[in-house]
């Protein structure tokens, strides 16, 4: 592997009581890669995301981001290091306006990093920029509860983007959306990737995953069973069995 | 040294009896908090309410307190169902349960307590029954009937509830609701109705617990507040929603409190439960963190 790995996951395991959610999962993500993560329901994808980002503590294994170990760091510090995520079920800040939702990561991630510090005017501008990017500029003063499903998903993504991440994990950002809406989100993610952001896409919508990913990882019952080019992975008999066999 | 060992033994036995009673006090919350996720911080107030009604029945009609409580069971069940209905309509449906639900029960706690103060004053009340004065003696161990009988009845109540929850259809539905609300909806059973039944049962246990309480000690309205700490300490120590664990935790607490009261004085007793609660929450909150 000549490319420097931005994210290195080694032997990650997580149990809930007697139940093993993740079993020695290992993979790497290179900079600027577009990694697709797929697997049947209950295979551990969300648990994996939670362990990577610090929402859950894993029992064994290690997670390295940009060469440094992040195990044990609280979630907010990982975000400041450059790992951002969007939640599967959007979790907006309900009492704040749409624009203010974007402010939070700007105030607490961007401004918390060493170096460039956004002043009040720059903050306003950046909020507006981000909302424009996802097409929510018109609803800036509104409340999250007034947004449609798609708009909430976009807000989720915009909030993750506001943290200026090096790695963005999009957790089922397109579930339940229409064909066009899925294309919208895909276009957004492509644009981000072109701008230098590494993306891990967790999805059930196969056409999206296939067209977007440069590499595919398949998780079944907490174990990684395939890891390679999309076209090859989908032909892998284990993968076929996992999806059709049950 | 002989005196000390005897004292210790008595303290432990007293603690066990006390613990059984504490389990009866806690089982209601084990259901409402452990299974339904409703922080009914007003449960002790319902217990005290039960104590007072039992007191009235006992003093006016000479009814045995435990019998009186059994008669009260359906009344308290209805009360619990009504309270849950309000809680459900106002909070669970709207979705912002946490803070407002807590405040709701907190307010209820004070309303009941103060209403009792206004109605009965702050004098201690107690019931009369044949067995209250009697004590059985086995060597160095004293078994006052006023503690032994509530202990026995508590165990009986716990066993009955355990059987109900594991054997009957509704009981099992309650267990299912506590674990997976979605599954129940898919089964086209109405979770709200099941929860209402469960909450009703939870408050019904308060009637019996109230009878036990006033048999064991004289009661005045603010006594309930001492029990909040005990109840939640037992729930946390024993694990939520597990009756055997709860019983063990209750007896443990009873023993520690009894020993503390015997050797250090009764004024430290309230702090024991709360102290244990704080320490447990701080250092061993397994299953409580980020549930």
């Amino acid at each position: 592997m000549s490319a420097t790995a931005l994210l290195e996951v080694e032997d990650l395991s997580k149990q809930f009581g007697g139940f093993t959610a993740l079993d020695s999962v290992s993979f790497r993500v290179a900079e600027r890669e577009r990694l697709g993560l797929i697997g049947p329901n209950g295979s551990g994808k969300s648990t994996l995301v939670n362990c990577l980002c610090g929402a859950l503590r894993h029992q064994s294994g290690s997670v390295r981001f940009a060469g440094a170990r992040v195990d044990g760091l609280p979630a907010h510090q990982r975000t400041r290091l450059g790992m951002a995520r969007s939640f599967q079920l959007p979790k907006p800040f309900g009492s704040l306006s749409v624009a203010e939702n974007i402010r939070i990561p700007l105030l607490y991630t961007v401004n918390a990093r060493k170096g460039a510090h956004l002043d009040a005017a720059a903050l306003e501008r950046r909020c507006h920029e981000l909302l424009e990017l996802v097409g929510l500029a018109g609803k800036a003063m509104g409340r999250p509860r007034d947004l449609t499903q798609v708009e909430m998903r976009k807000l989720e993504l915009a909030r993750a983007m506001a943290a200026e991440p090096k790695l963005l994990i999009a957790d089922e950002a397109m579930a339940g959306l229409s064909h066009n809406e899925v294309d919208d989100i895909l276009a957004l993610l492509h644009r981000l990737n072109e701008g230098g952001v590494t993306i891990i896409l967790i999805e059930h919508i196969m056409r999206a995953v296939m067209s977007f990913s440069s590499r595919l990882v398949v998780l079944v019952a907490g174990r990684k069973i395939a890891d390679g080019l999309p076209a090859e992975v989908v032909r892998n008999p284990d993968v076929v069995r996992a999806y059709l066999g049950e | 040294m002989g005196v000390s060992v005897d004292l210790l033994l008595s303290a432990i036995v007293a603690g066990i009896l006390l613990g059984g009673f504490y389990a009866a006090v806690t089982v209601g919350v084990s259901i409402s908090f452990g299974m339904l996720d409703i922080v009914n911080i007003a449960h002790p107030a319902f217990i005290i309410l039960g104590s007072y009604i039992v007191y009235i029945l006992n003093q006016t009609y000479g009814v045995d307190p435990i019998l009186a409580a059994i008669v009260l069971l359906p009344v308290f069940y209805a009360l619990g169902a009504a309270v849950y209905q309000i809680y459900y309509l106002v909070f669970e449906r709207r979705g912002d349960e946490a803070l407002r639900g807590l405040a709701f029960f907190f307010g209820l706690l004070f309303i009941i307590e103060v209403a009792l103060i206004l109605a009965f004053g702050v004098d201690y009340r107690f019931v009369s029954a044949d067995y209250i004065g009697t004590t059985l003696h086995y060597g160095p161990i004293d078994l006052p009937l006023r503690m032994l009988i509530p202990f026995g009845m508590s165990i009986a109540m716990l066993a009955t509830l355990q059987l109900y929850l594991s054997r009957t259809f509704i009981g099992r539905a309650i267990m299912a609701v506590s674990q997976d609300r979605q599954a129940l909806q898919l089964m086209s059973a109405n979770p709200a109705r099941i929860k209402r039944i469960a909450f009703g049962i939870s408050i019904a246990t308060a009637a019996l617990a109230g009878a036990f309480l006033i048999i064991i000690q004289p009661v005045e309205p603010s006594v309930g507040r001492d029990y909040i700490g005990r109840i939640f300490a037992i729930c946390v120590l024993g694990g939520l929603g597990s009756f055997p664990g709860m019983l063990v935790a209750a007896i443990l607490l009873g023993i520690v409190e009894s020993i503390t009261a015997t050797f250090y004085g009764p004024s430290w007793a309230p702090a024991v439960a709360f102290g244990i609660l704080l320490l447990t929450l701080a250092f061993r909150p397994s299953g409580i963190m980020g549930r």
Binding site: C53, H76 | G107, F110, G229, M289
Partner: protein
């Protein structure tokens, strides 16, 4: 308006308020006013953790009483002027708030609240058993002979409370408009999402509990001089616990205005019932309890929320 302007206005309003108060016909006004103002500080302090951050503290009485009892403890050692006592009360309660936060803030909301209740009882038991400050028998405090500036000592206490009110409200307002306030709101709305967005939730929550505790301690520090006889029953009185929750809830929890309105409204009602019915404080707490439950059911955003929704509807 800008925060600096707000402080200026607050100080001026406070001064004007106090000036007007001096026209009061008799001492009773200061006696009663002190209690109501005390509640303003308590409610505002509670709201910083409760309304802004979303963590319900059932143990306000403990922080309040710690302030009062640190005054009693120091009173026996050396004569210290009241403002210093207030500072010390604030520090003691602030440190306890920090400690409590550290022990309990990793818990889910409901467990945090129960832990605060546990703390209140533990503190009360410790103080009841501490004979140095009088234990359950209580302690007597003698008011100083000379009163700084004003005629009667009660007026001086009243002035101190006005200053504390201005301070508390000013701090609350400053937080609201600051980065810290945004962080608190994010924690309240969705703590997990806040963490993911870079908010150091544990640290901010600790700030909230420390600040909230400190302000409550400062409100409690002058109490011994007000009552001249302090025992645990009155220091840890039921009414403080219920009111510090009821007032912000009934007034409105989303801004500094709510606790102020709630405290003035409920505080006055309680003063009135105490005087008019001269019964035990039981009736007071009953009224507060009923109002609390009613508002929680009918108007969860409090009086401020009601007014806002009326204005919104008229548009």
């Amino acid at each position: 308006m800008r925060t600096r302007t707000f402080w200026l206005v607050a100080v001026l309003v406070g001064a004007a308020f106090f000036g007007l108060s001096l026209l009061a016909p008799n001492q009773y006004y200061f006696q009663a006013g002190y209690k109501v103002l005390q509640y303003v500080v308590l409610a505002t302090a509670w709201n910083i953790l409760g309304g802004y951050c979303g963590y319900v503290n059932f143990g306000s009485a403990a922080f309040f009483a710690l302030g009062a009892y640190s005054t009693v403890a120091l009173y026996k050692i050396l004569p210290v002027p009241l403002p210093v006592l207030i500072l010390i009360g604030g520090i003691v309660s602030g440190v306890v708030g920090l400690g409590m936060g550290y022990l309990t803030l990793r818990l889910r909301g409901a467990f945090f609240s129960i832990a605060t209740l546990a703390l209140a009882v533990v503190v009360q038991t410790l103080i009841t058993n501490w004979d140095y400050v009088g234990g359950s028998r209580g302690a007597y405090i003698i008011r100083p002979m000379r009163v700084p500036i004003l005629g009667h000592y009660i007026e001086y206490l009243y002035l101190i409370m006005v200053v504390l009110c201005v301070l508390a409200i000013g701090i609350a307002r400053t937080i609201e408009r600051s980065r810290l306030g945004y962080g608190f709101a994010a924690i309240r709305d969705d703590e997990q999402a806040a963490e993911a967005a870079g908010v150091p939730t544990l640290r901010l929550k600790l700030v909230a509990t420390t600040l909230s505790g400190a302000l409550m301690g400062m409100a409690g520090a002058p109490l011994p001089y007000y009552v001249t006889y302090l025992d645990p029953a009155s220091g840890f009185n039921l009414a403080y616990a219920v009111n510090s929750i009821a007032m912000p809830l009934i007034g409105g929890m989303s801004s500094w205005l709510g606790p102020l309105i709630g405290a003035l409204f409920l505080g006055s009602i309680q003063e009135y019932t105490t005087v008019a019915f001269s019964s035990s404080s039981g009736l007071n707490v009953l009224i507060v309890g009923v109002l609390l439950v009613s508002f929680v059911i009918v108007a969860p955003n409090g009086i401020v929320g009601l007014v806002e929704s009326l204005r919104w509807r008229r548009r």
